[in-house]
């Protein structure tokens, strides 16, 4: 996937977990949004750095990934409910996949996400791990 520019554009969000918070209703969104779906035109969104801590809301262990992720399979993906409010889709790393459960407390870590072949760009971003 030739997404060098697309990846670069998302660096604040992928490296630092920058989301949006609506000053009108208090809802938090990740990824960033321009419009709050609750308040629409009355809403006022501003950037917020999410703390990157939360709980596993649900998860799955992937045995048949796409080619890009073949080398790391089987691996765990999850939807994490962040303490700041939003839910986020992420990989769960540094764990025995069989040990992961709904409700586990997790924290963000900075990792390599994927490579565009041998000569391509390496993309980095967030993954999560279970808190010790």
């Amino acid at each position: 996937m030739k997404d060098t520019v697309r990846g670069w554009r998302h660096i604040p969000q992928r490296y630092n977990l920058i989301g949006s918070k609506c000053l009108e209703c208090g809802k938090v969104f990740f990824p960033k949004r321009i419009i709050c779906p609750e308040c629409r035109r009355k809403g006022q969104l501003e950037d917020i750095k999410l703390r990157g801590e939360g709980k596993i809301y649900t998860y799955s262990i992937i045995n048949t990934p796409t080619d890009e992720f073949k080398t790391i399979a089987p691996y765990v993906v999850a939807i994490v409910e962040l303490d700041d409010g939003a839910k986020i889709t992420t990989q769960i790393v540094d764990c025995n996949p069989e040990d992961v459960k709904i409700g586990d407390e997790v924290e963000m870590v900075f990792r390599k996400i994927r490579e565009e072949g041998d000569d391509g760009v390496i993309s980095y971003g967030f993954k999560f791990r279970i808190k010790k």
Binding site: S60, A78, T89, I102
Partner: protein, 383 residues
């Protein structure tokens, strides 16, 4: 608004159709539906074709022209309609709107997908989810439904066996459908022992990679009897949107788009869940079949697994679900599915469904989902 009728239907065999091309499939389905409707191509005024991703699967865009050209119907207008796996349902809805509005009298609504020309269709299928914030995180499409299943099991105690039963019932019906991709039965044990795709879902929880096409001819209800003795009437055609990403749903065990589309469909048709004699639901994965019977109002939230286990959804049960075999056994050529569901329901309503005929079907429903519920289309049809 005018009432709308279906006067002709057709479906190709679904499967790995290596000897038949994208254009040949849609021509076969389209010509079949015209023949069934007793009209000629020159009588048509417009065509709507559901297709998720000819661009990624066969490197062909502009299929509207391709289809008009190869069906010999130039210069009749053709429009491609896309909402991932709900593309067919949307094509049907757009055709219905065109006739109901009075803009056109004779319209074809069709769907087509050719998925087996690529070595790995997984990345193309993943584009039905949020590419930037789901797929690029390493999430596959099956794993999104696996996460829904995990949460449904956690909240309601739905069991692995109940999920498997949904596939078992589908295959039991599909075994009676000569156009099905996998016309044979499977057991609960086979489902559980098949390879894990995305835990807790196994290969036999997942609908297959398929080629196929289907087509439907629509006309104003008051003209239908001139062409057929067995018109089927459109009682409701609705569509609702949901968030593209699964993580943005308040609740993962309800597909709000289904709930909203169903509520509007029941209102439009003036019927309730108890009036539906048979339903074709979007079981791209076994868990989605269970969510569907809950979200369409046939069983209480959380009771879908138990209902399937107790036989409610079998051909001779209280509410037969997926008499065609569903996406699991009939096959799931993405853009064709929403049309194929309606084709099956037309055959059921006409009493032409052969060994899988449900006696006395008068009102049927079809339910077509795009992505993980970013789009839902619901149709209610009657004799």
């Amino acid at each position: 608004m005018r009432d709308v009728a279906i006067i002709g239907v057709s479906q190709t065999k679904f499967g790995e159709l290596w000897d038949i091309s994208f254009r040949d499939m849609i021509v076969e389905a389209g010509m079949g539906s015209l023949k069934d409707a007793n009209i000629e191509g020159k009588d048509l005024e417009a065509m709507y074709v559901g297709n998720m991703s000819a661009g990624l699967f066969v490197q062909q865009e502009h299929i509207s022209s391709l289809i008009a050209d190869h069906t010999g119907l130039v210069p009749i207008p053709c429009a491609r309609v896309e909402a991932a796996c709900a593309s067919g349902g949307l094509a049907l809805r757009n055709g219905i709107i065109a006739v109901a509005s009075g803009y056109h009298d004779f319209v074809i609504a069709a769907g087509v997908e050719k998925m087996t020309d690529v070595v790995d269709p997984t990345p193309a299928i993943a584009t039905a989810s949020d590419q930037e914030w789901e797929a690029q995180q390493g999430v596959t499409f099956p794993s999104l439904y696996a996460m829904i299943a995990q949460r449904h099991m956690y909240e309601y105690g739905t069991t692995r066996e109940q999920l498997a039963m949904f596939s078992v019932v589908n295959h039991k019906n599909g075994a009676k459908n000569p156009l099905a991709q996998f016309p044979f039965e499977v057991t609960v044990e086979q489902v559980l022992k098949s390879s894990t795709v995305a835990d807790p879902l196994t290969l036999l929880d997942c609908s297959p990679i398929s080629d196929g096409a289907a087509a439907i001819v629509l006309c104003p209800a008051d003209m239908a009897k001139k062409y057929t003795d067995t018109p089927v009437y459109v009682k409701a055609s609705t569509q609702a949107s949901g968030t593209i990403a699964l993580h943005d749903r308040k609740n993962l065990t309800t597909i709000d788009a289904t709930v909203n589309a169903a509520r509007n469909a029941y209102d439009m048709a003036g019927v309730g869940p108890k009036d539906i004699d048979a339903v074709e639901v979007h079981d791209c994965f076994s868990i989605n079949g269970i969510l569907a019977i809950e979200d369409l109002g046939f069983v209480e939230k959380g009771k879908g697994g138990v209902a399937v286990e107790e036989g409610m959804t079998e051909l001779d049960g209280d509410l037969p679900v997926n008499p065609s075999g569903g996406l699991k056994s009939r096959g799931h050529p993405l853009g064709a599915t929403g049309i194929a569901q309606a084709v099956e329901m037309v055959w059921q309503l006409r009493g032409e469904a052969g060994k899988r005929q449900i006696a006395g079907t008068e009102i049927g429903m079809t339910h077509n989902i795009g992505g993980t519920g970013g789009t839902a289309a619901v149709h209610i049809l009657s004799v």
